[in-house]
């Protein structure tokens, strides 16, 4: 069976005054119908740019310089603007961190929902309203009939994000890209929104790409993970495997930096990855992680590691040293 | 010093300047005009202030390229027989001096009031802003008429002509300070919520130190932008006042009073007396405004984080 989405060798560049800057460098992944993928990384790793590239919304001076994005057999990277608009917001929906990016503060929820729907479907306002009500119920908004005539500022942050999700659902998309959908929300609300997304993916058979920095959230929601670092995917595979047995030293570091219930107490230290992610303008030679890596070898400073399959598992890792036995965890005290 | 120069050379500021031909051309013209006007005593062919060298017989000679023109007077002469080119150069110097002086005064009053108003907030803020509103509802003209009338009555016309430059600076400066006060207040309101201000308060600094040492430097970008527009406005105001006879006397002409002095003679065919100073005024104000537009784009914090 062909995949719902296949991103292959995607490269996004930004034309800046000191030359081109490669924000995304050879990113590849696939997503099947109803599958949930987590794109994990720090700010600047290129995860949001990847999301925008899929719906062809890279704004100038950025452009897709290489690779293809196959969605249902069509290459989105080369689709003309007209046709792309038919897919964006219709068969692929996007949810942003800040709900107010999607919601227009001066229009009622009902108007916004109906107009979105009527832009993509040839239906009357009445029919559109019926669909809007149905979707609002799906995201557990109480008394949706009254909500339709309310303005975004009348809702709390969590409710707004629910409405944004309802809007994303309007056109029954096959794929939802959620960019940090819960980062601005409180933990208790965050958990509710994540539950909702999980439930909707199952009931509507939707694909989900969850872009986030939070490994905990990803492990709760997704089936697959791709970890990004400095514009590349350094490790990808089933969530289960990556969480329990990370191979790339960066993934390992991220997981170890999370608090360990076994080692808590006053003044206790956390495991840290030394240094910071390099800026895209000053990437180190070879593997871009090597200055922060604790298992690096001579080759890491010279050659860029290719992504390669791990024997016996459905996962890939881009590291020269990954299969070397990792040393016992070192307990560092000093940051770089 | 060398470090700053290097930093400047690699800055976004210079880069965007060089990439914008309009800004570069405007800057070159502005520089040229200012150089010409301030080196007037050195390079002008005649001294229009020297009544001994003026001959009324040379009055209203058209520009050199016209039939009755005289190559001795490139742009012709005015009704008193002064060389127009020299007079314009001197007049422009007066205009620029008044413009810059007025803006410095405006900025001084406006920044001070804006800072206090924005930082203190509450009743003081409300009071100062209402004062600004009242000031704004007097047009520059009204302020000028009022002050100059009072001054002329009190000290006589002779004294007024003598004191015209500082007087105009004060008039235009007083009339326009609310622009600065409002701009500064708006950015103070934005800045004072930022955590670096709280950090300064945690250290224990007093309000004056926080206002002037911490907040003020961060409000200067918009001040710089409106300053360009304000210089252009001040030069225009000066010209308008002089045109109405409330500004510079004919013996010490500015661009505005030159335009005024030639205006009566346009219909008798001596168009050049008004045209050349007018053209220069338009060019001068235009290039400043163009530079101001560019500066606003560059200093826009949404486009450039510095």
């Amino acid at each position: 069976m062909s995949h719902l989405l296949e991103v292959k060798n995607l490269e996004v560049r930004f034309a800046l005054r000191f030359g081109d800057l490669t924000a995304i460098d050879g990113v590849s992944f696939t997503l099947d119908k109803g599958e949930r993928l987590g794109l994990v990384g720090e700010s600047g790793a290129g995860k949001s740019v990847t999301g925008f590239a899929i719906i062809n919304l890279i704004s100038k001076p950025g452009y897709i310089s290489r690779g293809h994005i196959l969605f249902d057999g069509e290459n989105l990277a080369e689709l003309p603007g007209e046709k792309m608009r038919d897919i964006r917001g219709n068969r692929i929906s996007m949810i942003f961190q800040d709900p107010m990016m999607t919601l227009n503060p001066v229009l009622t929820i009902g108007t916004q929902m109906c107009e979105t729907l009527m832009a993509h479907r040839n239906i009357s306002r009445k029919q559109a309203e019926a669909v809007a009500l149905e979707k609002l119920r799906k995201v557990y908004i109480s008394s949706p009939e009254q909500r339709l005539s309310q303005y975004p500022h009348e809702f709390s942050g969590g409710m707004r994000q629910r409405i944004v999700i309802a809007i994303a659902l309007l056109t029954d998309p096959a794929l939802i890209i959620a960019d940090e959908p819960t980062t601005a929300l409180d933990v208790t609300i965050q958990a509710e929104i994540m539950d909702l997304l999980l439930e909707l993916c199952a009931s509507e058979d939707m694909g989900l790409i969850l872009i986030t920095h939070d490994l905990g959230v990803v492990s709760r929601v997704t089936e697959k993970i791709a970890v990004m670092y400095a514009g590349k995917i350094v490790e990808s595979g089933p969530t289960e495997n990556i969480i329990t047995d990370p191979l790339h030293p960066y993934t390992k570091g991220l997981i170890r930096a999370l608090p360990d219930p076994e080692r808590r107490g006053q003044g206790e230290r956390l495991q840290q990855i030394p240094g910071t992610m390099p800026t895209l303008t000053a990437l180190p030679r070879g593997c871009s992680f090597h200055p922060r890596c604790e298992i690096k070898g001579g080759i890491c400073e010279k050659e860029i590691p290719e992504s390669r399959a791990v024997k016996g598992q459905k996962r890939e890792v881009a590291c020269h040293m990954a299969e070397n036995p990792s040393p016992p965890p070192v307990y560092e005290r000093e940051g770089a | 010093m060398k470090h700053y120069w290097r930093q400047f050379k690699s800055s976004y500021f210079l880069y965007s300047f060089r990439r914008d031909p309009v800004a570069v051309i405007s800057f070159v013209i502005l520089l040229l005009l200012i150089l010409l006007s301030f080196s007037a005593p050195l390079i002008a062919p005649y001294d229009p202030y020297d009544t001994a060298s003026i001959d009324i017989m040379d009055a209203e000679i058209p520009p050199a390229w016209m039939e009755e023109g005289n190559t001795a007077y490139l742009l012709g002469t005015d009704i008193q027989g002064r060389d127009l080119l020299s007079t314009i150069m001197y007049g422009m110097r007066v205009s620029v001096l008044i413009g810059c002086g007025a803006v410095i005064l405006q900025a001084f009053i406006g920044i001070f009031i804006g800072l206090i108003s924005g930082y203190a907030g509450g009743r003081l803020d409300a009071f100062l802003m209402r004062v600004a509103d009242v000031q704004l509802s007097f047009s520059t003209m009204m302020v000028a008429i009022l002050i100059s009338a009072i001054f002329q009555v009190a000290f006589g016309v002779g004294k007024f002509e003598e004191m015209a430059v500082p007087l105009l600076v004060v008039i235009i400066g007083l009339a326009e300070w609310p622009q600065y006060a409002r701009t500064v207040r708006a950015s103070v309101l934005g800045e004072k919520k930022k955590e670096y201000v709280e950090a300064a308060r945690v250290i224990g600094f007093g309000p004056l130190r926080i206002m002037f040492r911490h907040i003020l430097p961060n409000t200067l970008s918009p001040v710089l932008v409106i300053s360009t527009v304000q210089v252009a406005n001040a030069v225009m105001s000066e010209a308008a006042l002089s045109f109405l006879g409330l500004g510079m006397p004919v013996t010490k002409p500015s661009l505005g009073s030159l335009i005024n002095s030639g205006f009566e003679y346009i219909f008798s065919g001596s168009w050049w007396i008004t045209f050349f100073p007018g053209l220069l005024l338009v060019i001068f104000v235009l290039v400043i405004n163009l530079l101001g537009d560019w500066l606003r784009d560059v200093l826009n914090p949404k486009l450039y984080k510095g």
Partner: protein
């Protein structure tokens, strides 16, 4: 911990702080039932909060947005005057002092802020930022001595002292937060309030900054009060944790007690909502609208979302009680024994 034996470094008693956000006179006017009325909009940020912190402690205040934790931090350190209640520092009452009387305390307590991009003055070099507090609090100090201190503190927080001449925008977020910590350390404080010190940072940097804070604490014998919305990371290094909801203290207990046996229903919900690696455990679902601190619910502020709420919770404000030494909870259900003590 016996409060009579240990001298408290900071204690607050019955702290109340309300903000009037109704704006100018015209903005206060509202039209209701055919009449124009003047209405004040008041945010009730802190409602009767009391606790004390012993020297050497790492005291965390946890809560969601709008619960008043940042207001608590700023009131405790004297940035806001409390509406009522008392703040004691080192045994002396400080909440009613004039700025001049407050000065000696300013050097003893410092603050670290959330946003490393807003907390450093963009127009000052790192050296100026760090020197300024020293010159202010120790006027006699020589330029060379101050320079040495700047270098030493920069070294300690892991920023190369050679970069002192640079401006904040030339540093990454993590480095800026280090500089922010350095500024707080410059005056040799005893007590540091950190308002969300890591929440604006990337995951791999968060651990670095927390470790730096712990190290500084060990070297200098500091006491911390850490404000956070993140129960999972910060609370792990704390000695005691206070959970706040809508301006009130729900629960205050030693960190391991809090994690192993959360008592207050809100604490339980909060703990269960933390996304944990690999755990698919169902979290406690809270129902009901999230109230705002402008219209506080009657009775217990949590009753609208609490699964155990009954009639008493809707009318009567629960008082902070101590079921065991060192633990404080404010919940009618716990007091009456309606809520089972250890869940699961």
């Amino acid at each position: 911990m016996n409060s009579r034996q240990t001298e408290k470094i900071l204690s607050v008693r019955n702290l109340v702080k309300h903000f009037d956000i109704s704006g100018g006179f015209l903005e206060q006017l509202a039209f209701e039932k055919g009449k124009i009325i003047r209405r004040h909009t008041v945010v009730k940020a802190l409602n009767n909060v009391s606790f004390s912190i012993a020297p050497g402690e790492i005291f965390s205040v946890v809560g969601e947005s709008g619960c008043g934790k940042s207001t608590l931090a700023r009131t405790a350190i004297g940035l806001y005057p409390p509406d009522s209640g008392e703040v004691f520092f080192g045994g002396e009452r400080i909440d009613h002092l004039s700025p001049r009387q407050m000065l000696p305390f300013r050097a003893r307590m410092q603050m670290i802020f959330q946003d490393p991009y807003a907390s450093l003055n963009p127009r000052m070099t790192v050296r100026q930022i760090l020197e300024e507090p020293v010159f202010f609090h120790r006027p006699g100090i020589s330029r060379a001595e101050a320079g040495d201190r700047v270098a030493a503190v920069m070294e300690q927080v892991g920023v190369d002292p050679q970069w002192a001449g640079r401006y904040p925008h030339e540093f990454s977020g993590g480095q800026r937060q280090r500089i922010s910590i350095a500024r707080a350390l410059m005056v040799d404080p005893e007590f540091i309030v950190a308002d969300e010190p890591i929440s604006a940072l990337d995951v791999s940097i968060q651990a670095q900054i927390l470790n730096l804070l712990m190290e500084a604490r060990e070297k200098r014998g500091l006491t911390y009060m850490i404000i956070t919305h993140d129960l999972s990371v910060v609370a792990h290094i704390s000695s005691r944790v206070a959970v706040m909801y809508l301006g009130s203290l729900c629960e205050l207990s030693p960190a391991d007690q809090m994690f192993d046996h959360p008592r207050h229903p809100y604490t339980r919900a909060l703990l269960s909502a933390i996304p944990r690696l690999g755990s698919k455990k169902k979290h406690i679902r809270l129902t009901g609208e999230v109230p705002t601190p402008i219209r506080l619910p009657s009775g217990c502020v949590f009753h609208g979302r609490c699964p155990y709420a009954d009639a008493r919770c809707k009318t009567e404000i629960p008082l902070p009680l101590s079921p065991e030494p060192g633990i404080i909870t404010a919940c009618h259900g716990l007091e009456e024994g309606r809520i089972p003590l250890s869940p699961e």
